[in-house]
């Protein structure tokens, strides 16, 4: 499937339009859910870290440090990607599946359009661009949510939290999060496109393809999460 995507575009302007449309669908379309889960993810991490750090010798700023690293290293890239596998992956699979079942893909083929290039490539490229951006936004929102939850519940003061955020910060962690988000973005878009594009049958099969694509994407995301952690850290 991936090999078939690369051919000279019939009309670059139309491919660009399709790419921009996908960026809007994936990026803007998923922002709401990313916003909500990131805030709560950060808040819960702060509360649970504070609950476990009962030793009075450990400064409270350590809570912020733990929250920051947990969110950057794991929660922002992996949890966001798992959610996006559901939101974006099922959308891609059902959209392509519906196009296949209603012969819209055949109609494009008859027109002489490389359907893999026109339908799948812009989705993968848009996912590679937008999912890392969403992961970065999720990281910021997660940390902010953590701070707000800590301050509102009286666990940590704003100054202590900011101090903790600056403690032992490693830029490599951000690179690691980006490496994971690119990998996960590719997995989500390509797996769901594969299942959607190759649907055979009717409405029931579209649903099955959508579910299978989410399950396979999630498993692959978790597997690659472990593999990348083992390799890069």
């Amino acid at each position: 499937m991936l090999k078939g995507m690369f051919s000279r575009p019939e009309n670059m302007k139309m491919y660009w339009k399709q790419f921009m449309q996908q960026c809007v669908d994936i990026g803007v379309g998923s922002f709401g859910i990313v916003f909500i889960i990131s805030l709560f993810m950060g808040g819960v991490t702060t509360l649970q870290t504070a609950y476990q750090l009962v030793n009075p010798i450990i400064p409270k700023s350590t809570i912020a440090q733990v929250v920051r690293d947990t969110i950057i290293l794991e929660f922002a890239p992996t949890l966001t990607s798992i959610v996006l596998a559901g939101v974006v992956g099922s959308k891609i699979a059902s959209e392509l599946g519906n196009m296949r079942v209603t012969e819209q893909i055949d109609a494009l083929e008859i027109m002489g359009i490389n359907t893999k290039g026109y339908l799948i490539l812009p989705k993968i490229l848009a996912a590679l661009l937008m999912i890392p951006i969403l992961v970065m936004i999720s990281g910021f929102l997660g940390v902010w949510g953590g701070k707000e939850a800590g301050v509102l519940s009286g666990i940590i003061s704003p100054d202590e939290f900011l101090q903790g955020l600056r403690q032992d910060f490693r830029a490599y962690n951000v690179f690691f999060a980006l490496a994971k988000s690119y990998t996960f973005g590719f997995i989500i878009a390509s797996v769901s496109a594969y299942y959607g594009y190759n649907v055979k049958g009717g409405a029931l099969e579209i649903g099955k393809a959508s579910t299978t694509s989410v399950v396979v994407s999630c498993v692959l995301v978790l597997f690659m999460d472990y593999a990348l952690t083992a390799i890069l850290l």
């Binding site: 819209q104 083929e109 008859i110 002489g112 359009i113």
Partner: protein, 280 residues
């Protein structure tokens, strides 16, 4: 002209097309008819390249489509328009955008020229007022007409229609048939229609290919079909008492008007013509 030479196609152990040879004549409405499972849809999909044949050749004006590379096929495909059974309109686009799509992808000229061409095509299929509507907002017959407008927007040489009347009421079916027939003459297109509709067969079919169990059983015109003594064809076409009576009336009409003799004379040199039986 599209020529099929000994086309064979199977899926697994099941042989669907068992060496079909036929000719789709230029500037005419060519019909492929047959019972469900006779292989007519597979045959049409093979003709447009959606399914690859196992053996045989498909020639578009003498050019072998089966042995063409991707680039050569793209060139031929830009001369093909197709109306799908379910219309296959793009859900996220309006009627106007659907018709505009092939022009935007392949058309040259300014945006204004393209808009003008789209308006012409929509007017030709009587859908000018529905330009801004989405496919979900229009009826089945209108969807078919949008499909036709999209198929003809690039002035194709070949028009393929897969079951253009399926799911439509008799009156709308007649309109669609009439429209396809008119466009075939107007643009001098080689039209191939895959149908079950007996009205299309009798009214629009300039040239008819009857498929039976993966083989071509009969080939001829809509005048010849009423005089055919092929039992399988007669059982399929004139299945009801009503249709058998209609056949007799048509036979009488053609025979008394002398059109039958005319047709015989025209077809005398055509070996592909169907079996002819002089009416008693």
């Amino acid at each position: 002209m599209i020529e099929l030479q000994d086309i064979k196609k199977g899926f697994g152990d099941k042989e669907i097309l068992k060496g079909v040879s036929a000719v789709m004549e230029s500037g005419k409405v060519n019909l492929i008819i047959g019972a469900s499972g006779s292989g007519k849809t597979v045959m049409m999909k093979c003709m447009v390249g959606l399914i690859e044949v196992d053996a045989g050749k498909i020639l578009y004006d003498g050019k072998d489509f089966t042995n063409m590379d991707t680039h050569e096929r793209k060139v031929i495909r830009q001369e093909i328009g197709m109306l799908f059974q379910g219309s296959a309109l793009f859900d996220s686009m309006t009627v106007e955008q659907n018709v505009m799509f092939p022009l935007e992808m392949f058309g040259t000229g300014s945006y204004r020229d393209k808009k003008k061409r789209v308006a012409e095509c929509l007017e030709r299929v009587n859908l000018k007022d529905a330009a801004k509507k989405f496919p979900a907002e229009i009826s089945g017959g209108m969807k078919k007409r949008v499909g036709i407008a999209r198929a003809i927007v690039l002035n194709p040489k070949y028009l393929f229609c897969d079951e253009p009347n399926s799911g439509l009421d008799p009156q709308t079916s007649l309109l669609i048939d009439q429209l396809i027939k008119e466009l075939t003459v107007e643009y001098n297109i080689t039209t191939v229609i895959n149908t079950h509709d007996m009205n299309t067969v009798m009214e629009s079919g300039d040239h008819i290919v009857y498929m039976y169990q993966g083989q071509k059983q009969w080939e001829g015109s809509n005048k010849e079909i009423v005089f055919s003594n092929d039992q399988l064809l007669n059982d399929f076409i004139f299945a009801s008492e009503f249709l058998r009576e209609a056949k007799e009336m048509r036979q009488h009409e053609l025979f008394s008007s002398g059109k039958w003799k005319e047709d015989l004379k025209n077809k005398a040199g055509n070996p592909a013509g169907g079996d002819r039986q002089k009416p008693e």
